[in-house]
C-alpha cells in the first residue's frame, strides 16, 4: 500500500516536472532596453536609462539621452523599471517540492557534522516552486542544506536551467553551521515549564564545535593517511575559497561565533539570521563580518519588543557599515522565496533608503556569495541577468514583470500557476 502511495506521488512529481518551462536558448541577438528607470543594484539610479547587452554580458549602461546606436532587439521600457536579477541567499529552493510530502524532501541529511554534504546535486532545476520565482524577479539563489550542527555546503544557482550543472553559477560557495543557542526550552513532556531558560550545556556545545574545526585543521596539515571526507570538505574555509556561514541569533552567540571563527583563522565570515546583530554592529564591522538577515515578515521574539523590531534592523546595520543581505530560512521558506523583493521593501518602509534596500538582494548578496565579479549589478561586463518591471519591484503593486533575462537569455515568465490561471480564466469567459 505504502509503496503504491509513494510511486503514485512519484508519478505526480514526474508528471509535474514534464510540465515545466523550457529553459531559454543562449543569447543570439543583442538587446537594447531604453526609457526605463534603471536601479543598478549598487545604490545608483539612472532615470530614462539605456541598457544594452550581447552574448550574455552587459555592454552598455547609461542614459537614453546618450547618442549611441541601439543594437539588436530594442525594447521601449518608458515608465518601467529595470533591476538586476534579485538574489535569494540562504534558500532551499529545489530541495523540497512539497513540505508535507516526505518523499519530496531533500533538505536535511542525518548526522550532526556534515560539511561534506553538498546541496547542489539535489537541486531540482525543474521544480515548480523554482519557476514561480521568476515572475517576481528572483533569478538567482543560494541553495543551502539545513539541519545538524554543520549542515553542509551550499552552491549558488541561476533559476532557468535544464539541470543542476547547468544551473550552478558558483559551486560549493560555503559551509553552513548552526551555532548553538544559549537558551533551551523546558521539556514540557516531562512536566517542565516550556519557557526558555539558559542552557547549561552551551559552552560544552560551542567547545565541541571548535574542537571539530581544530581537528580538521590538524588533519589537513598532516599526512592524511586515511581520508576523512568531512575534514577534506572544510579545506576551503582555511584557504579562503569558501565562506563560513554561521547561522546564529543573539548578541552573545554571534560574538562567540565570530571570535571562534577568527581564532580558527577563517577569513570569510557571514552571520545568517542575525537577531541582535544590530547591538554589536561595530564589532561586526571591525571583524569584516557580513550578515544575511532573517526575513522581516515574522513575529518579534518577545511580547515587549516593538512591533517593527524585525523591520528596522537592516537600517541600523547598514548605517553602521555592515554588509547586509536577506535570507529565507523558516516556515514555508521555498514558496515564500518569491516574496524576497517585498522583504527588501519592508526594510525600506522602515528606514532604509530604497536603493539600499535593492542592494540587499542584488549587489550585497552577490558580494557575500562571491559572485559580484560577474553579476549582482547592472554594470558593463557583468552577466545580463536582469528584469523589467511595470513599477517599483519592491512593491506588491509594482512588481509586475514584462521581461526577464538570465545571462542574456530571455526567459519564460510562465509557470505552472500562470498556466492554470489562463486555463481557468478562459473557462469562465467562454
Amino acid at each position: 500500500m505504502k509503496k503504491t502511495i509513494y510511486s503514485l506521488l512519484f508519478f505526480f512529481l514526474i508528471g509535474n516536472i514534464l510540465a515545466q518551462q523550457t529553459p531559454a536558448d543562449k543569447q543570439n541577438m543583442p538587446f537594447s532596453i531604453e526609457g526605463a528607470t534603471a536601479h543598478l543594484g549598487n545604490g545608483e539610479v539612472i532615470e530614462n536609462a539605456l541598457i544594452m547587452f550581447n552574448k550574455g554580458k552587459i555592454t552598455f549602461v547609461g542614459s537614453a539621452m546618450a547618442k549611441i546606436a541601439r543594437v539588436g532587439n530594442v525594447i521601449n521600457a518608458t515608465g518601467k523599471h529595470i533591476y538586476p536579477g534579485f538574489i535569494a541567499a540562504n534558500a532551499t529552493l529545489g530541495l523540497v517540492e512539497i513540505d508535507a510530502v516526505k518523499a519530496s524532501d531533500d533538505e536535511d541529511e542525518i548526522g550532526a557534522m556534515n560539511p561534506h554534504i553538498r546541496s547542489i546535486i539535489a537541486y531540482n532545476a525543474e521544480s515548480k516552486v523554482v519557476e514561480s520565482m521568476r515572475p517576481n524577479g528572483v533569478l538567482m539563489a543560494q541553495i543551502t542544506p539545513r539541519g545538524g550542527v554543520i549542515s553542509g555546503t551550499s552552491s549558488v544557482v541561476q533559476l532557468d536551467a535544464w539541470n543542476w550543472e547547468d544551473a550552478a553559477i558558483k559551486t560549493d560557495d560555503g559551509i553552513h553551521i548552526n551555532w548553538p543557542s544559549s537558551f533551551t526550552r523546558g521539556r514540557w513532556w516531562l512536566g517542565e515549564d516550556p519557557a526558555l531558560k539558559p542552557d547549561t550545556k552551551y559552552s560544552e556545545r560551542t567547545t565541541q564545535l571548535k574542537m571539530y574545526f581544530e581537528n580538521a585543521k590538524l588533519y589537513l596539515a598532516g599526512k592524511k593517511e586515511k581520508t576523512h571526507l568531512p575534514y577534506e570538505a572544510t579545506a576551503g574555509l582555511f584557504n579562503n575559497s569558501k565562506r563560513f556561514y554561521i547561522h546564529a541569533d543573539g548578541q552573545k552567540e554571534i560574538t562567540d561565533a565570530v571570535k571562534m571563527a577568527k581564532t580558527l583563522g577563517i577569513a570569510k565570515i557571514t552571520i545568517v539570521g542575525g537577531e541582535g546583530a544590530d547591538k554589536i554592529a561595530d564589532f561586526l564591522v571591525s571583524k569584516n563580518v557580513s550578515v544575511i538577515l532573517n526575513r522581516p515578515h515574522r513575529n518579534p521574539d518577545s511580547e515587549d519588543d516593538a512591533y517593527d523590531v524585525t523591520y528596522t534592523i537592516a537600517k541600523t546595520l547598514t548605517d553602521k557599515g555592515v554588509l547586509v543581505s536577506i535570507g529565507m530560512e523558516g516556515q514555508m521558506e521555498r514558496m515564500n522565496t518569491r516574496n524576497i523583493p517585498f522583504y527588501a521593501g519592508t526594510f525600506a518602509a522602515h528606514g532604509l533608503a530604497k536603493e539600499e534596500a535593492v542592494k540587499l538582494i542584488t549587489l550585497n548578496a552577490a558580494k557575500i556569495l562571491g559572485i559580484d565579479a560577474f553579476t549582482g549589478s547592472l554594470e558593463v561586463g557583468k552577466d545580463a541577468t536582469l528584469f523589467i518591471s511595470e513599477g517599483d519591484a519592491l512593491e506588491m503593486r509594482g512588481n509586475r514583470l514584462t521581461a526577464a533575462f538570465i545571462q542574456g537569455r530571455k526567459i519564460s515568465l510562465e509557470t505552472h500557476q500562470t498556466k492554470l490561471w489562463k486555463r481557468y480564466a478562459k473557462k469562465y469567459k467562454s
Binding site: 508535507a100 519557557a195 511580547e303 518569491r338 512593491e395 506588491m396 490561471w421
Partner: protein, 986 residues
C-alpha cells in the same frame, strides 16, 4: 516488631475508648469526661468579636461556654492564659489532604481512545461526580502536623482528579482521634475543574473549550435524567443530581479560566465558589462582577536573578511585574469587596503560608480580613456554623498564641482540635532571647540568645570575637559549652527571676567545678527602632495595565469626537476614493463625510497627504484565543471560541499596528465539523466579553481535506479517513440534526444536545458556515450536501482551488476567503495559485484575503496588494478584499468594512497609499476610540524600558539583601494555527 504491636494495641485501645457503644475486652469500661477552662486570655470568638480577659470552657470537643464571666466548674481543669490570645483554628476548604491523586494511566496501544472506559456511568470518563473520596482517604498525620503548625483545624479535602470530581470530605485535623470522629462531613461540597482525570485516556475533551462544552452537556443530561427520560442507568448523573445542593467548588489555574468557569455556572444557575490563582488583581472589577466567592492561594513567586544583563533583558515585563504586584492581590481583592477565603493550596510547603500572609499584610491587606478569610468566610462558604468560630456549641478548634497571630514575632503555642491539644511550641519553655553578660572563669562574655521555644540558639562572643560554642535549652535546663584555645568550659544551669538571670555550675577543661551566671542587658532600643523604621523601604507596587503587560493600556481609550481633515478617503463603497475629504467620527460612529467639515470640540487630525480607510477585517484568524482545536471528536459543534477569547494576547496590539480592527477567531481544522467562532473587535485592553461583537453574527468552522482525515497522523483511527467518508459524516450529522429539530419543534420532550442545537441553527439559517477547503472535489461535494440537506455554505475559507469551481460557487452563493499566495506546503495545495482571488472575483464571487497567521494579519494590506500583481484586480477591488468583502462574508457589512455615514467609526489613517509596502498605520480607531497611535507607541516603548530597569533594580536589591531569587525564564508565546492540536492537562 514488639514496639509496633504495642503501638497498635495502644491505638486500638484509644479508639475503643472513643466509641461508647463499642464493647471493650481490654479492661473495665471507662469514660473521660473532663471540662477544660482557658482563662484570662484575649479571645477571638469570631473574627469580629473579641473578648479581653475572657474564659473559654470546653468539653467533649465542643465549646461549652465562652465569655468574660464564665463560671468555671470545680472539676474543670483550668489553664491560665494571661497575656495570651486565642483564635478559632483556621479552615482550608481547598485541599487534597489524605487523598492520593491517582497516577496517570498509560497505554502501549497506539490507538487513540475516543470512548469511555467505565460502564454504567456517563459517556465521558472525566465526569466523575460519583467519586467517593472516603474510599481513598487515609489520615496523613505528617501533613496534618504541617497544617496544625500553621494554625489550621479543619480542611475540606477531595479527590483532585477530573472535571467533575465528586464530593468533599470535611476533616478535623485531629491526630488523636479516629475517622469516626474527625470526619465532620462526608458530603461537604462538590469539586470541579477544567482538568481531565488521570485515570482515563479518553481524549475528549482535548481543549478548555471542550471541557466547558462537556460541562454544559453534562448539566443538560443530568436534568434530562432527573426527569426519568433515560432508559439506562447512569451512576455519574445520579451522583451529580444528588450533589446538586452542595457547595460547588471550582478549581481554576488562571484568571481567564476563573471567568470561564463562572460563565458556565451562570448559564445553569449555579454560582461556583472559585479557587483562584493569585492573579485576580489583574482584572479585579471583573472578579467582583462574578459575584462568586473565591478561594485564594498565596503562593508568591520569587524575584528573578537579573545579574546577567543579557538574560535579564529577555524576561518579559509581564513576568517581572507579577513578582512586584502579586503580593498586593489580597489587598486589592478586599478593597474591591470580593468575598474570599484563603488556601494553602499551591504552596510547596505549608510552612511558607504565614510568611506569605505577612507579606500580603505588609502590602496593605488588613489583619481583620485575613482572620475572616481563614475562619468565618470559609466556614460560611461551606455553610458550617460549627467551625471557624468559638461560639457555644462550636467545635473546640482554637489556637493559642503569644499575641497577634499575623505578626512575625508571635509564637503559636498550641492548636487544639476537637478539644485535643496539639503542641506547636511548648508554652512552658521560657523565652530567653536577648543579650546577656555571661560570667565564668573570671571572664566576661557576650551571650546572645535568639529563636523560639525548643529551637532557641545562642552565640557567644569575647571582645566581639565569636567563640566556638554549643547551646541547648531543654526541660528548662540550659547547657552551654565553650571551646577556646585554653580548652573546654561546660556549663549547666537554670533561670531565676523569670528569664533575666541564669546561673549554675561550670566545669573547666581540667574538670574543676566552678560557678557561672548570666544576666540580661537592658537594651536602649527605642532610638534604634525608630531609625530602623525610617530605613524600612517603602513598598512600591507598580500600576496594573490592561492587559497587564508591556504594551497594555493604563486607561482604556475613550470614545472621542474626531475630525480627520483633508485626507484621501478610501470608502470601499461605490463612491470609491475621495480626495481632500474630511471625515467626522462621533459617538463611535462615522457621523459625516464631506469637505470643509467643522465640529466643535472635536479632536482634529490632519490627514493631508495621508490615506483614511475602513479598518481591516480578517475573516480567518487564530489570535487572541487560549485554544484553537477541539480535536478529540470528529464533530464538535458544541464548542465555541467565544468561551476562550484571550484578551491578553500581544498579537491584538500588533494587528492594530497593521490596521486590523475586526477578526473572526475561527476554530481549527482538525475535524469536519469544528467549533463556533468568536468575532471580535481588537479593542486592546478590554476584557474578552467586551471584545466580542454585540449581537454577533453566528458562525461555525467546517473543514475538509487532509487535516480532517488525519493525513499526517501515522495511526489515525477516527472516522473519516478519506474524502468519501467526509461526505457521509456531513450527511449523517445533518440528517440527525433535522430529526432533532423536528422533534424539538413538535413540542414533545427532547434531550437537549448542544451539538444538534448548533447544527439545527445552520439548517434554520441562523448560523453560517465558514469552511476550510482546498481541492475542487470536496468544495463541490459540500455545496451538493448543502443543497440536498437544505442549508447554505456561507464562506469557503482557504478555498485554494476555488478558481476551478468559481461558477458553481457563484451559483450556490458562497463567498471565498483565501490566502494571497500560499502554496506548496502540502499535497492538496499543489494547484493553489495566487490568481485565485482574481478569478473568483471576476466570476462574481465575493472574495476576501485572510491571514490564518498572526504575522500576516498585521499586514493584510500588503496581501491585498498582491491581487493587483496576480490577476490584475483594480486597486479599489483589491482594497475591498480586506475591508467590505470580508465584512460582507461575516454579515457585518451594515456595521463595518467601509467608510459610510452611520457605520461604526472603525478607521485607519495610513502614512501612504494603504496598499503600498511603504505605508504605516498611524492611527487605528475602533468605535471612535484610538486603540493604536504611532506616537503613543513610541512612548510605550520608552516606558517599557524604564519600567524594566525599575524592576531590575528592585530585583537586584532583593538579591543583594539576601532575598530568594530564581533563574530567568523567557516566555515564548504560543502560535496557534489551523492545525495546532493542544492538549488539555490532567
Amino acid at each position: 516488631m514488639k514496639k509496633l504491636f504495642f503501638l497498635l494495641f495502644f491505638l486500638s485501645l484509644s479508639i475503643a475508648n472513643a466509641q461508647d457503644y463499642f464493647p471493650t475486652d481490654a479492661g473495665v469500661k471507662t469514660t473521660e469526661n473532663t471540662q477544660t477552662a482557658f482563662t484570662n486570655a484575649t479571645i477571638y470568638v469570631t473574627s469580629k468579636k473579641v473578648i479581653k480577659k475572657g474564659t473559654l470552657l470546653i468539653e467533649n470537643g465542643k465549646v461549652v461556654a465562652i465569655g468574660r464571666s464564665v463560671k468555671v466548674p470545680n472539676n474543670a481543669k483550668t489553664i491560665n492564659l494571661e497575656s495570651k490570645t486565642i483564635y478559632p483554628s483556621f479552615v482550608d476548604i481547598y485541599s487534597n489532604f489524605g487523598i492520593k491523586k491517582p497516577s496517570r494511566k498509560t497505554s502501549n496501544s497506539r490507538r487513540t481512545q475516543y470512548e469511555a472506559s467505565r460502564e454504567g456511568y456517563y459517556w465521558n470518563d472525566h465526569i466523575r461526580p460519583d467519586v467517593n473520596p472516603l474510599k481513598d482517604f487515609s489520615f496523613d498525620a505528617k501533613q496534618a502536623k504541617e497544617f496544625i503548625d500553621a494554625g489550621f483545624g479543619v480542611v475540606n479535602t477531595h479527590m483532585e482528579d477530573g472535571i467533575i470530581r465528586g464530593n468533599g470530605l470535611l476533616v478535623a485535623l485531629n491526630p488523636n482521634s479516629s475517622d469516626a470522629y474527625r470526619i465532620l462531613n462526608t458530603k461537604s461540597a462538590q469539586y470541579l475543574s477544567f482538568n481531565k482525570s488521570a485515570t482515563s485516556l479518553q481524549v475528549y475533551p482535548g481543549s478548555i473549550m471542550g471541557a466547558m462544552a462537556l460541562l454544559r452537556q453534562t448539566y443538560n443530561d443530568a436534568s434530562w435524567y432527573a426527569k426519568g427520560n433515560m432508559k439506562n442507568k447512569d451512576l455519574a448523573l445520579e451522583a451529580l443530581n444528588d450533589n446538586k445542593n452542595l457547595v460547588q467548588i471550582f478549581k481554576t489555574s488562571n484568571l481567564l479560566d476563573a471567568f470561564r468557569a463562572d460563565k458556565v455556572g451562570d448559564e445553569f444557575g449555579i454560582q461556583y465558589t472559585i479557587v483562584g490563582s493569585g492573579d485576580e488583581y489583574e482584572r479585579v472589577k471583573d472578579v467582583k462582577k462574578t459575584n462568586a466567592n473565591f478561594v485564594i492561594p498565596i503562593n508568591f513567586s520569587s524575584a528573578y536573578d537579573v545579574s546577567n544583563p543579557l538574560l535579564a533583558q529577555k524576561i518579559s515585563l509581564r513576568d517581572m511585574r507579577k513578582w512586584n504586584q502579586e503580593p498586593s492581590n489580597l489587598k486589592v481583592l478586599a478593597e474591591n469587596g470580593v468575598n474570599f477565603a484563603l488556601t494553602t493550596n499551591s504552596l510547596k510547603s505549608i510552612k511558607s503560608f504565614h510568611k506569605n500572609l505577612q507579606k500580603a499584610i505588609k502590602y496593605g491587606f488588613s489583619k481583620e480580613k485575613a482572620l475572616e478569610a481563614l475562619t468565618s468566610i470559609p466556614a460560611n462558604i461551606l455553610g458550617n456554623s460549627k467551625i471557624g468560630n468559638l461560639n457555644q456549641g462550636s467545635y473546640a478548634n482554637f489556637i493559642i498564641t503569644s499575641g497577634d497571630i499575623f505578626d512575625a514575632k508571635t509564637t503559636l503555642y498550641e492548636n487544639w482540635v476537637q478539644g485535643a491539644k496539639n503542641i506547636v511550641n511548648d508554652m512552658s519553655i521560657k523565652d530567653l532571647s536577648g543579650n546577656y553578660m555571661l560570667s565564668v572563669n573570671n571572664k566576661s562574655y557576650n551571650l546572645i540568645i535568639s529563636g523560639k521555644g525548643a529551637k532557641q540558639t545562642a552565640v557567644v562572643k569575647l571582645d566581639d570575637k565569636k567563640i566556638k560554642s554549643t547551646f541547648s535549652f531543654k526541660d528548662n535546663w540550659i547547657s552551654i559549652t565553650l571551646n577556646e584555645d585554653s580548652g573546654y568550659t561546660r556549663m549547666m544551669g537554670q533561670t531565676i527571676n523569670a528569664a533575666n538571670v541564669m546561673q549554675g555550675t561550670a566545669f573547666d577543661t581540667l574538670g574543676n567545678e566552678t560557678y557561672w551566671s548570666a544576666s540580661k542587658k537592658v537594651k536602649k532600643e527605642s532610638k534604634k527602632k525608630s531609625s530602623k523604621k525610617t530605613k524600612e523601604k517603602k513598598i512600591v507596587v507598580l500600576p496594573v495595565s490592561y492587559p497587564n503587560l508591556g504594551f497594555g493600556n493604563y486607561e482604556l481609550p475613550k470614545t472621542e469626537t474626531i475630525l480627520i481633515k483633508n485626507a484621501t478617503v478610501w470608502t470601499s463603497e461605490d463612491a470609491g476614493i475621495l480626495k481632500n475629504t474630511d471625515v467626522l467620527l462621533k459617538d463611535g460612529k462615522i457621523e459625516k463625510i464631506g469637505k470643509n467639515l467643522q465640529a466643535r470640540g472635536a479632536k482634529l487630525i490632519d490627514g493631508t497627504n495621508k490615506h483614511l480607510t475602513a479598518g481591516i477585517v480578517d475573516e480567518h484568524s487564530h489570535i487572541a484565543t487560549s485554544a484553537v482545536n477541539e480535536w478529540a471528536q470528529n464533530s464538535t459543534a458544541e464548542v465555541t471560541i467565544e468561551d476562550v477569547v484571550d484578551p491578553n494576547d500581544i498579537n491584538i496590539y500588533r494587528n492594530l499596528s497593521g490596521g486590523t480592527t475586526t477578526a473572526q477567531i475561527l476554530h481549527g481544522s482538525a475535524n469536519p465539523i469544528g467549533g463556533r467562532s468568536a468575532i471580535i473587535k481588537l479593542k486592546w485592553g478590554e476584557n474578552a466579553e467586551n471584545m466580542i461583537y454585540n449581537n454577533s453574527p453566528k458562525f461555525i468552522k467546517f473543514a475538509l481535506g487532509e487535516n480532517v482525515k488525519q493525513s499526517r497522523s501515522p495511526n489515525g483511527t477516527r472516522f473519516p479517513q478519506t474524502r468519501m467518508g467526509v461526505e457521509q459524516l456531513f450527511v449523517d450529522y445533518f440528517t440527525r440534526a433535522k430529526e432533532y429539530d423536528a422533534l424539538k419543534k413538535s413540542g414533545k420532550p427532547y434531550r437537549k444536545d448542544d451539538e444538534m442545537e448548533t447544527l439545527a441553527e445552520i439548517l434554520n439559517g441562523e448560523r453560517h458556515i465558514s469552511c476550510h477547503s482546498y481541492v475542487q472535489s470536496e468544495i463541490n461535494m459540500l455545496m451538493k450536501v448543502a443543497d440536498k440537506m437544505g442549508f447554505k455554505v456561507n464562506t469557503f475559507t482557504h478555498i485554494l482551488e476555488g478558481y476551478k469551481v468559481a461558477d458553481k460557487m457563484k451559483q450556490h452563493g458562497v463567498g471565498g476567503s483565501t490566502f494571497s499566495d500560499w502554496w506548496a506546503y502540502k499535497y492538496e495545495v499543489n494547484d493553489a495559485i495566487p490568481y485565485n482571488a482574481a478569478i473568483m472575483h471576476n466570476a462574481g464571487v465575493t472574495v476576501a484575503i485572510n491571514s490564518d497567521d498572526r504575522e500576516m494579519s498585521r499586514r493584510l494590506n500588503q496581501e491585498a496588494a498582491k491581487t493587483i500583481k496576480y490577476g490584475g484586480m483594480s486597486e479599489l477591488d483589491a482594497w475591498k478584499t480586506v475591508t467590505i468583502n470580508p465584512a460582507k462574508l461575516l454579515h457585518l457589512d451594515d456595521r463595518v468594512g467601509s467608510i459610510k455615514e452611520g457605520k461604526n467609526a472603525d478607521v485607519v489613517l495610513w502614512s501612504h497609499h494603504p496598499m503600498s509596502i511603504y505605508t504605516k498605520a498611524e492611527k487605528t480607531i475602533i468605535d471612535g476610540r484610538i486603540f493604536f497611535d504611532r506616537t503613543k507607541d513610541k512612548e510605550k516603548r520608552v516606558a517599557i524600558q524604564k519600567e524594566k530597569s525599575t524592576l531590575i533594580n528592585m530585583m537586584l536589591n532583593e538579591k543583594m539583601n539576601g532575598g530568594k531569587t530564581k533563574p530567568p525564564m523567557i516566555r515564548e508565546d504560543r502560535n496557534f494555527e489551523c492545525d495546532t492540536l493542544e492538549e488539555l492537562k490532567n
